[in-house]
């Protein structure tokens, strides 16, 4: 048995690092010397005023927090009004894995940047999750195998889904087989499977 805690980003959290690696459009309001290579479309030494580049969110937040600010941070496609309307219309059918793997975490970080449309973004985040939650709940508890549709989930949703699925399958096992069985450790089972597939590849 292990303690179960809800995910909250921290300094060491890989999820948070990858979420802040997602790109946002930045329009430079100041000249930046020697860093021209940040713009893949140019071979100049400096970044000139007015240049627009897609940069990772962590860098954008630095550009945005300097006084005066170095660049104006725009909205990535997925959080623009057109996409927000799609999410509002029927959030359950959207393939978030394809659109933005870290939809919620990325969106929350964007909200911190005091963007004009922050409150619209955050309400889309909250509503989308509330609507999509039923699917996660059903997939997690109904089935002992991984549902193929779960591939369309955002990474945080996936984390919640996997936790739920573990509980769902241990409950199923208890209802069908009883609870006292000792079983091999998860890592041991996976290690065995991996060795078997490696053997198959060799022959």
């Amino acid at each position: 048995m292990s303690l179960c805690q809800s995910y909250v980003p921290n300094y060491f959290s890989i999820q948070d690092i990858l979420a802040t690696q997602e790109k946002v459009p930045c329009k430079f309001e100041m000249q930046v010397k020697h860093l021209g290579f940040l713009d893949p479309g140019s071979d100049k030494r400096d970044i000139e005023i007015g240049t627009s580049i897609e940069l990772p969110l962590w860098m954008a937040s630095v550009l945005n927090s300097q006084r005066p600010s170095i660049a104006e941070v725009g909205l990535p496609k997925i959080f623009k009004e057109a996409y927000r309307d799609i999410m509002k219309a029927d959030p359950c059918v959207v393939d978030l894995h394809k659109l933005a793997q870290y939809f919620y975490e990325f969106g929350m970080c964007l909200c911190m940047l005091k963007h004009r449309e922050s409150s619209e973004i955050s309400s889309v985040l909250v509503e989308s999750f509330k609507q999509r939650f039923r699917q996660i709940l059903d997939w997690a508890q109904h089935s002992t195998i991984e549902v193929p549709e779960s591939k369309k989930l955002d990474e945080t949703e996936k984390m919640i889904y996997h936790m739920g699925r573990e509980v769902g399958s241990s409950l199923y096992l208890w209802l069908t087989e009883g609870g006292s069985l000792i079983t091999a450790a998860d890592m041991v089972i996976q290690h065995k499977k991996m060795k078997l597939t490696q053997k198959d590849l060799l022959h």
Binding site: S6, Y104, G107, K130, L137, I160, V167
Partner: protein, 186 residues
């Protein structure tokens, strides 16, 4: 918690047995059990009843609710009621699972009882699932868990608390955003 841990907790519930031996009181950390007199019913914890039964030292008397008609009635009541109804035992599912697998020759109609318990469980679990969904969608801040049993509550853990924590984080991000909006208007 793993279901086997909930089962462990449920095994402390008392059940009636008729021992075929005589023995004085047994003193346990959880309390005294016995004395045992051959042929006279006595209440013991389930784990002890199962152990004695395995060694052919007693006959287990199934609780009176472990009966097809009573279970059907409970199921109907559960279906017609918006809220959860009170179960005859805080661990009805575990008690049924344990006793039915141990005493299949002591009780008549075991298979039917097993089905009835499973039906009751299914009705309650699907009710639980849709109320969890409504709870999330309407943004409720508290819910009454009266008459839900440990195993049932455990079935939505850690999924529900995790989802609630997550929604809380999403909402905090939005509160932060709207506060900043107001500040910039001043």
């Amino acid at each position: 918690m793993d279901p086997s841990e909930v089962e462990f907790i449920a095994e402390k519930e008392l059940v009636s047995i008729v021992p075929n031996f005589t023995n004085s009181e047994v003193h346990l950390i959880s309390g005294d059990v016995g004395p045992f007199r051959a042929g006279l019913p006595v209440n013991v914890p389930i784990w002890m009843a199962l152990n004695l039964r395995q060694r052919q030292k007693c006959r287990i008397i199934a609780p009176d609710w472990l009966d097809v008609e009573k279970l059907e009635a409970l199921k109907e009541e559960e279906k017609s009621n918006r809220f959860f109804t009170k179960m005859p035992s805080e661990h009805y599912m575990v008690v049924a699972q344990l006793l039915l697998s141990a005493v299949d020759d002591d009780i008549p109609r075991v298979e039917e009882i097993r089905m009835a318990v499973k039906d009751l469980w299914d009705v309650r679990i699907s009710k639980l699932r849709s109320s969890v969904d409504t709870f999330i969608k309407t943004g409720g801040s508290h819910a009454r868990l009266d008459y839900l049993t440990t195993m049932e509550i455990n079935s939505v853990r850690p999924l529900l608390p995790h989802a609630l924590d997550f929604i809380d984080r999403l909402q905090k991000a939005s509160e932060g955003a709207s506060r900043r909006d107001m500040a910039s208007q001043d």
